[in-house]
């Protein structure tokens, strides 16, 4: 098993949270170190370009 997954399943969790703050708060209450990340949607044209790049591989 991949090391990070093993640590996760042992409860040694370090998390990032993108979206609702309440999920970060609840993880912190359980003693989980949680980094809150800023989420700003990309402009749609940029997303279309990225999708093309993803498809090219």
């Amino acid at each position: 098993m991949q090391d990070k997954l093993k640590e996760l399943l042992e409860g040694k969790i370090v998390a990032v949270n993108a979206g609702l703050d309440i999920f970060a708060e609840e993880l912190e209450k359980q003693g989980v170190e949680t980094i809150r990340v800023r989420f700003t949607p990309r402009a749609s044209i940029e997303k279309d370009l990225q999708d093309i790049l993803d498809a090219i591989g």
Binding site: L8, G11, V16, F23, V37, F39
Partner: protein, 517 residues
């Protein structure tokens, strides 16, 4: 004289959580009877209209505006409260610090991402995280099936988990992710396509003295023919290798035909541990292997998991106790009050309840009806026997899930209590991380305002270790005359038995199918 005042804050945005906190604080201001701070979406305006809190000023507000409304004991009190509410909004809630995702991912210790951004952006956020070999719990709804399949394949290639999309709950290494309960750790592993399904089974197992090794929420579509149980199988592989797990419980609504065949073949041929399959509403499956059993309810799934562990105990109440409760409720139902109304915050609990009720008393109307012909034309109006999933989109657009914000259910509860044709109201009360701080309090405040109340029954899904505390919540409900049940299936069975017109032989058959009696 009571007085309503409203104020519109043009082109101002705060998220639903912040606005709910403003509402809660406003309700504590002297002289305030009711208050609301919402984004003025059509949905939210309709709700305010229903409870007669939308005046002309409020009608003029647009979806980009914040609408503050207060109902107070007089004009001065209303004006003061409105000023306070505006202050609360402007002060804001202490903002935590955020960093960019790219910067965050430089921290090599990160092994989990919890993502709840709008569904259309979920792929762009999840992709770089999975590529870095980090597991994801994806709470977001409305992720396309193509994106789900793509991200799950990538996750498997990278040796990590993609739990979700639409994953309400996971329990990883003893930590509750998103909506989860503080349950015991133990030797039963759960793979669930349903958040409240995972909550219910893990809580019941914990209540009866066992515990959970891991609880993987794989998202509602993992056992569809598009996903073919990709992540379910990966989680099963993990459990097969895990020394802490002896029994694996799999929870889902009916699976896709091909996905189910594939899953059964996989469990029969590629596993050695004991398995409980709870595919709510699916047909009887035939297993020759004693180590693989089927369960028709979440209650039975928890009980049979315990049994496979060798814990042969009475799981749940006896049939006699349940039938006595049904008879007692029947005695308290007024003559012409012939319908049941179920007001649920947990979608799978609503679904399970419909399955049991339908078996006992026939057609159940719903916004998530089992039979297409029983789908409610207007989800805001009940018809005959009705079960509502208040977590569905039509109730949550522009506001928080009812497990966090009880407003929508309180409004519906008032309506049902005023309907003379209603003989019984049933509800789920979800405790745990991220749920409302006092869901039972919200219910009894509404119940206690009403002069005549039909019998009400509730199931509290939670543990004593949950932030809300099981006993405190249960006692609050009981103090208002509400009957409380340990499992959703027991509550639903008692409701069905109370309306089964004395045909208790039929009730016994239903009990044996869904409960371990």
């Amino acid at each position: 004289m009571n007085y309503i005042l409203a104020k519109v804050l043009k082109n101002t945005y705060k998220d639903s959580m912040q606005l709910m906190q403003v509402t809660e604080r406003a309700k504590k201001v002297k002289g305030v009877i009711d208050a609301a701070a919402v984004m003025a979406t059509e949905n939210n305006k309709e709700l305010l209209r229903t409870i007669k809190l939308l005046n002309e000023e409020g009608e003029r507000a647009n979806a980009d505006d914040i609408l503050l409304v207060v109902l107070a004991t007089g004009r001065d009190e209303a004006e003061f409260a409105l000023q306070e509410m505006e202050k609360f909004v402007m002060q804001g809630i202490a903002a935590p610090s955020y960093i960019d995702l790219k910067e965050a991912l430089n921290d090599n210790r990160i092994n989990l991402a919890v993502i709840s951004v709008p569904g259309e952006h979920a792929r762009e956020v999840a992709l770089p995280i999975i590529e870095r070999g980090i597991s994801v719990h994806l709470f977001s709804d409305h992720v396309s099936i193509e994106d789900e399949v793509y991200l799950k394949k990538l996750a498997i290639e990278k040796g990590v988990l993609l739990l979700g999309p639409s994953a309400g709950t996971s329990i990883l290494g003893g930590k509750g992710i998103a909506f989860a309960n503080a349950v015991r750790r133990g030797r039963i592993g759960i793979v669930s396509a349903s958040g409240t399904g995972l909550q219910e089974v893990s809580v019941l197992i914990s209540h009866y003295g066992e515990g959970i090794s891991q609880g993987f929420g794989v998202g509602g579509r993992d056992l569809s023919d598009s996903c073919m149980g990709m992540m379910t199988k990966r989680c099963i592989e993990i459990f097969e290798e895990d020394e802490q797990t002896d029994v694996v419980c799999i929870i889902s609504k009916p699976a896709g035909e091909d996905a189910l065949k594939e899953l059964i073949k996989f469990i029969k041929n590629d596993t050695k541990k004991d398995y409980v399959l709870c595919l709510l509403g699916s047909e009887e499956l035939d297993f020759k292997e004693k180590r693989i059993v089927q369960a028709n309810s979440l209650h039975a799934a928890a009980g049979k998991s315990m049994k496979l562990l060798g814990k042969d105990m009475q799981f749940g109440s006896s049939l006699e106790q349940l039938l006595n409760q049904a008879k007692e409720i029947k005695r308290n139902i007024a003559d012409k009050s012939e319908f049941i109304r179920g007001l649920f915050t947990g979608g799978t609990l609503a679904y399970e309840s419909m399955i049991i009720l339908q078996d006992g008393i026939g057609d159940i109307f719903s916004n998530i009806a089992i039979k297409p012909e029983n789908k409610l034309k207007d989800p805001f109006k009940s018809f005959k026997h009705t079960v509502i999933d208040l977590g569905e989109e039509e109730f949550t657009e522009g506001r928080l899930h009812p497990m966090i914000d009880p407003t929508v259910r309180n409004i519906r509860l008032k309506q049902e209590m005023n309907d003379k044709s209603v003989g019984l109201i049933m509800m789920d009360v979800m405790l745990g991380y991220a749920s409302n701080a006092d869901p039972a309090g919200a219910i009894i405040n509404t119940v206690n305002q009403s002069k005549s109340v039909p019998p009400i029954i509730a199931h509290v899904c939670g543990t004593e270790q949950d932030p809300q505390g099981l006993n405190v919540q249960t006692e609050k409900l009981k103090s208002s005359g509400i009957n409380v049940f340990t499992s959703n299936a027991e509550m639903s069975f008692v409701a069905a038995a109370a309306f089964i017109n004395g045909n208790y032989e039929r009730a016994k058959i239903i009990a044996r199918k869904y409960l371990l009696v």
